[in-house]
């Protein structure tokens, strides 16, 4: 998986691509640290447009990001979730604790 950080104004976008699973651990954490280090960012968007698969380890990483974002007062949303990704998020009922757009 690759993770690209784009910061525009108050919005930090985390563009993920490929398979989001345990092997993506390092890239994801680095990208998260980078985006949260930017003091201008008030809202973090995790963009799943290019993600074709995610597993339960990925859900765990999203939970950790949520915690970090919340503790520094940032909004967090999961965006552009397509078929498989949406399905996994739905089964885990992540809509109850995440903003999914």
């Amino acid at each position: 998986m690759s993770a690209i950080v784009e910061v525009a104004g108050q919005t930090g976008r985390l563009l993920l691509a490929g398979q989001f699973d345990f092997s993506a651990h390092r890239e994801f954490r680095q990208a998260c640290d980078e985006i949260l280090a930017s003091t201008a960012v008030r809202e973090v968007l995790v963009d799943f447009q290019q993600v074709d698969y995610l597993d339960s380890s990925a859900l765990g990483m999203l939970l950790l990001l949520k915690e970090k974002a919340a503790s520094s007062g940032r909004e967090l949303a999961l965006v552009n979730c397509r078929d498989t990704v949406r399905q996994v998020l739905e089964i885990a009922c992540f809509g109850k604790i995440f903003t999914i757009r």
Binding site: F22, L59, L63, I91, A92, C93, K96, I97
Partner: protein, 562 residues
């Protein structure tokens, strides 16, 4: 480095030897190929410098023999050669030599070459050392995995899965499974089934699901209900697992006698119910977050209830099954699973599903743990009510009272205490009742619920009839219990010694206005409420109502010990 130098010319040995020593290396000298091979085996030098042409055995052949004798231990060999011998070099390097030096020797080049070889030797040493460490590490990890697997198997009580109504299959992606299937019966013969899926797979995932097993088995055994066990499992997961870890879990409770099903699904693919004809009767998609994410009071405990009349199969599986991909990258999916198992008896449905998955995957391997459970919801599988005969008549004298247990509960306690499991905790310590837990649990449950529901809450059993009757009854009951201001239930248990048998007297009284209990004593088995008291009557040696029906006493006789 230890350097072996082989040359038949003493002048060359002196010249190159001095130079090698001046670079700080240890020197071993050989005068021909045979000596070179001999010293190599005895001294194990780090590198060999050798003339092409030597008496008795030439350089290339000596090099071949050295390489053959050293096997996996790598010794770099550098041949020293005159320009006119260059065409033989290719052959020599194919059979063993690693490099060459042209005569006359350029000492600047020789020094550089020795340094280059020194680097390669060092690299080689590190690789070998790491390979050795890795091999050791691998062996230790395998051994630890063995121990872990053994432990896991003990903790998940694999043998308990051998329930007549349950068919299960788990295929771990690695040697340990992060999927868990656990099943056990309550003392009242309600089947509790859990299918859980921890994050990832292998040992870490297996460790995630382990905290579930202890509360599941311990509390099911004592007759706790599904929500209580769920709360405890959630507490355990939150307490034990680090942040970002959670366990997806489906929990099912099947009461075969009442033909009811309770389902809680947090993060497991939808549970499906297939009728005998293969029709899809009902689906239970995930409605809750997996365990371990939200705080204790945010845990949603609302269960979905279902009443089954005909025989049907309840199918549960982890996402590893639906997501298993073949060589073309296609997932197995729910449709293929449905096709394989719908309309077949549970055991066959399981076997067909496993076959279908294996056919589908071909040579491709699963990348996640796979688990599948099928419950055979057979209305006839309810254990028949125990026959009254054989219990024997109550003796005239009850004999000496060996122990007495009294409990008196006011409205506040009735709202939150798990009364029956509480008493069962005591009963389980009484030796003469060791074989009678299930019976005692049933009698206590029925008498206690009778006192609470009908005595204090004035619930009418008629509420239970109708399609949504049970659901409505339970909601209404919860509402009335929450509003209960006063009332008391007294429970008294005494144990009597009758020689080879023991007698347990259970007396339950409530402060309610009482009710016409005569209809309870001529139970109508078609009425859900009558079933309970009929069961108690069948299990007990005597069952009597006193007063307005707000005092009831059952005497239970243990079976003669053999």
């Amino acid at each position: 480095m230890k350097v072996l130098l082989a040359d038949d010319a003493e002048v060359v040995r002196m010249l190159i030897g001095r130079f090698v020593e001046s670079l700080g290396h240890e020197l071993i000298l050989a005068a021909d190929g045979i000596e070179a091979v001999e010293y190599c085996l005895a001294e194990r030098p780090d590198m060999v410098l050798m003339d092409m042409m030597m008496p008795r055995l030439n350089g290339p052949e000596a090099g071949r023999q050295i390489k053959a004798a050293m096997g996996a231990h790598w010794i770099p060999i550098v041949l020293i050669t005159a320009v006119e011998e260059v065409n033989k070099l290719a052959d020599a390097m194919e059979v063993g030599a690693d490099d060459y030096l042209l005569k006359p020797i350029n000492f600047r080049i020789l020094e550089a070459k020795i340094k280059a070889i020194e680097r390669t030797v060092e690299l080689n040493r590190q690789v070998r050392e790491q390979a050795f460490k890795l091999a050791n590490y691998y062996d230790r990890a395998e051994e630890e995995k063995q121990v872990a697997r053994h432990l896991m198997e003990q903790l998940v009580n694999r043998e308990r899965l051998s329930d007549t109504q349950l068919h299960t299959w788990i295929a771990p992606a690695e040697s340990l499974s992060g999927d868990l299937i656990a099943a056990a019966r309550t003392p009242g013969q309600v089947l509790h089934l859990v299918l859980a899926d921890g994050i990832g797979h292998g040992l870490t995932a297996a460790l995630n699901v382990l905290p579930l097993t202890q509360p599941f088995y311990a509390m099911t055994e004592r007759g706790f209900s599904l929500p209580d066990i769920l709360i405890e499992m959630h507490r355990k997961v939150r307490q034990v697992l680090p942040a970002g870890r959670f366990v997806a879990l489906a929990f099912v409770a099947v009461d075969f006698a009442k033909r009811t099903l309770e389902v809680w699904n947090g993060g497991i693919p939808e549970l499906r119910l297939y009728g005998e004809s293969g029709a899809l009767l009902k689906r239970w998609p995930s409605r809750h977050l997996p365990l371990g994410i939200v705080s204790q009071d945010e845990l949603e405990l609302d269960l979905e209830r279902y009443r089954f009349d005909g025989r049907a199969n309840l199918v549960l599986c982890s996402d590893g099954l639906l997501e298993a991909r073949n060589a073309e990258g296609e997932p197995f999916g729910a449709a293929r699973l449905g096709l394989a198992c719908a309309g077949y008896p549970a055991g066959e449905a399981l076997a067909r599903s496993i076959d279908a998955l294996q056919d589908f995957l071909g040579d491709a391997a699963c990348h996640d743990d796979v688990s599948l459970a099928i419950v055979d919801l057979d209305p006839d599988a309810a254990l028949p009510l125990p026959a009254g005969e054989g219990i024997g008549k109550l003796p005239e004298m009850l004999g000496e009272v060996r122990w007495r247990y009294e409990l008196s509960l006011g409205a506040a306690e009735l709202k939150h205490l798990h009364t029956v499991p509480l008493i069962m905790g005591f009963i389980s310590q009484i030796r003469p009742l060791a074989q009678a837990h299930a019976d005692v649990f049933l009698i206590l449950t029925e008498l206690f619920l009778n006192a609470l529901d009908h005595g204090l809450l004035a619930m009418s059993s008629d509420l239970k009839s109708g399609l949504d009757g049970m659901e409505y009854y339970l909601q209404e009951r919860a509402r009335r219990l929450a509003e209960l201001k006063q009332g008391r239930i007294d429970i008294e248990l005494t144990g009597h010694d009758l020689g080879e048998r023991s007698l347990l007297r259970i007396r339950v009284s409530d402060s309610g206005p009482g009710f016409d209990h005569r209809w309870l004593q001529e139970p109508d088995s078609t009425r859900p409420s009558g079933r309970g008291i009929a069961l108690v009557a069948a299990l007990s040696a005597s069952l009597r109502f006193f007063g307005n029906g707000n005092v009831v006493e059952a005497c239970y006789l243990t079976r003669p010990s053999h």
